[in-house]
Symmetry: C2
Amino acid sequence: MTPNADFERIFHPRRVAILGVSTQDWGFGRGIMDSLLSIGFEGKIYPVNPRGGEIYGHKIYAQVEDIPEDIDFAIIAVAAPLVPAALAACREKGAAGAEILSAGFRELGTQEGMALEEAIKVEAKKGIRVIGPNCFGIYCPKSGLTLLPGPDLSRKTGPVAFLSQSGGMAIDLAFMGMWMGFSFSKVVSFGNGADLREVDFLEYLTQDPETGIIALYIEGIEDGERFIRAVKQAAAKKPVIVYKGGLSESGKRAVASHTASMGGQKEIWEALIKQVGAVQVRSFQELCHTIQAFSMLPPRTYRGMTVLGGGGALGVSACDAAEENGLYFPALTGTIYENIYAALPKPGSSAVNPIDVANPFVPPQTLSQVMQEAAKDERVDIQVQITLFYHFKQMVKRLKLGTLKEIVPVDQYVEAAYEAKEKTGKPVVMVLPNCRQESSDLEVEEIVRLARESFHQRGIPVFHNLPDAMQAIRNVSMYYEHKQKTTS
Amino acid sequence: MTPNADFERIFHPRRVAILGVSTQDWGFGRGIMDSLLSIGFEGKIYPVNPRGGEIYGHKIYAQVEDIPEDIDFAIIAVAAPLVPAALAACREKGAAGAEILSAGFRELGTQEGMALEEAIKVEAKKGIRVIGPNCFGIYCPKSGLTLLPGPDLSRKTGPVAFLSQSGGMAIDLAFMGMWMGFSFSKVVSFGNGADLREVDFLEYLTQDPETGIIALYIEGIEDGERFIRAVKQAAAKKPVIVYKGGLSESGKRAVASHTASMGGQKEIWEALIKQVGAVQVRSFQELCHTIQAFSMLPPRTYRGMTVLGGGGALGVSACDAAEENGLYFPALTGTIYENIYAALPKPGSSAVNPIDVANPFVPPQTLSQVMQEAAKDERVDIQVQITLFYHFKQMVKRLKLGTLKEIVPVDQYVEAAYEAKEKTGKPVVMVLPNCRQESSDLEVEEIVRLARESFHQRGIPVFHNLPDAMQAIRNVSMYYEHKQKTTS
């Protein structure tokens, strides 16, 4: 019988030992200590290394036993063969859990690696719950625990939890959140998952009041039935987004050498995930966009939409992308049509929906009026605005108007879209493509990023392009549609 | 009988009249004159406006008739009702063709608009070939003709021709080429296509020795049979990439108000395009990536590939994305496997393929050796390297090493990949994701862009992410596979 995990002490430890901190090289132990100090971990840190010494003003203890008080959590970065004994020492020192950053276990496929991983399991059963090995550990913005390569992650907390068999994907998603406008309750890179795995954390996060959205990257599952049951229970309470890697034939082989898991049958997986009401995504990009949309859009189904922007082909592309994703554009008619038409520059505009505003310099206030008018059509659930900031570069150059930053009315765009969203109760989504990405165009990129950050602060999600936006909206809608059906 | 078009005089005019250049406002006429001067158009420019005067040191002629010599080409930017007479005057002045930037014709759906467009057709039949109306015109880097919003497009010529019913997409693609590493022979935004349309240009470009790749964005076709025949003939000689907008139901409506064309049945279109050996793409993004891949990859089929990069999940994702696109990863074995394994850091790496190099700081020379070794497997047709430059930001900060630009060995990466490509004869494709896109991370973006530009100079295409790369490689491969089948 494995004891229950004390997740409170694991995610918010007050006393942490780091095993394998060297003053002489830049290994994982030193790396994670740097990261914890840099992010501002709230608890006490006890570095451990048989050579002793001092680092960053902290005494290095020769062994865990020498630490003057009990610990809550351990971070283990010693060579693989030393890990089981280290784990035992931490358990005896009172640790509720340990993350093992070291690699060299089951993923090697060797007898020795297998045996070492078994030894970890044996220790775990005695009472210290294990994250890893072969992982980047836990990122918890509230306590200041962070991933191995996460010294400059944000301390801002948010509703997103991410469980990842891959350390690389855990750190990548944590970075993505910083500019895509979502923050985290907990991120767990669990690597080989010798003890605690996706399903354990999933069960915990289902009950965790700080977690509103659960995302998973999994390569393989040990107990399929328990996992599907856990996903079903979680999805009944909050959105669950599943990215399953290794569903292809060569993907299965890659999974085997990455985290030593078994892949699965693509069709079976996807059917099961859908059936239990979770959202299945097929790429890291889709995972990110979908989390972003869940973080910012009201919890509803979305079918009818408007799109407005300068350029008729954008509207055409929007329609095609929408229809592939089960969304549609109701044709605007009557006074709504007439009022929108009256507000737009002529010739070159179209008020039918997609709404072609004819050029990229239509004032933000006009765009807001158009959206407020369009929202009166009750078939419209959500509105997408495409703004092409890169066209300002030419205008600025041509009219010798100063810098791009001085000229582009970013704040007006943000307030106008926010007004449309607030007054109508219907969400607004921005698409800010950037077609000018030469190294000499960095000032365009800067404008796009500053605008994106402001939109996000106002709860308006920003996407690079239409297909990404449509896919994300579709995923949110599908989740709530399934929920409606199963609860009614 | 419409006369043949003198495309030489249309694309490389020596004397151009611009009708509708005002000294008082910033309309299309003034805009295109600015653009031509800015890009450095090689021929003479004769601005025309009944008010006369002077602009940028050029005399403004009150009417076309007053221009002291015959003209080759005219750019018409006067109000729609004045266009037919303007066109007649230009024809009498010897112009082989004219682009009509003005809107206000058939796309309005009004009787007047229809009648004006008919009048254009009547004039065209008398001997002046028309591009437009409702378009951005021609971009021809060789002669210096440029699109209405194209003052800072490149004068560099290249093999890509783009025919676009949408002006917005024409300018967007022209911008994309500047950083995606491809250049143009001719870009034509033909708008409503009252006279010359996609099919006319397609027939011309099939024979044009300066054009090696033809891309099209079309919303509707007038003569389907002739178009499909033209695509077939073109695709037999050079790659043809077709992006058909408006294949969805609401897309058809958007097409009607954008360029007044009829949409089409999605399934029929896609089957036909495939059957005649052209490449069908489904988004602007795919269009760009596919052109990029055709520009830089050797003309072959691609099936077996390697991927190498730091991070096991990247390899897993690569496999999944590859398999969706008909590509696969042969498992490396024997001495090839052993030599690669010996070169990689341990533990954490994997040499099976996908090749996991364990961390993002493996020296470029090692990566090059690995690729040279992997290329010995005859099943390997192409190699993809993923490099995560954003991880250098932390390293630089942590080790207090100076600026990112000083530290990231971009040149070494480029030379290493180039060496692998040249020595093996097998192309290398780079994927440079950027997970850090806050406004405070612009220095990371700069490194990515500088690296991208260097890779492109060495003929190595760079993509943002794996799915884009796989899709682009697949499209290139499908084209040559079809060609092999039909010519053998």
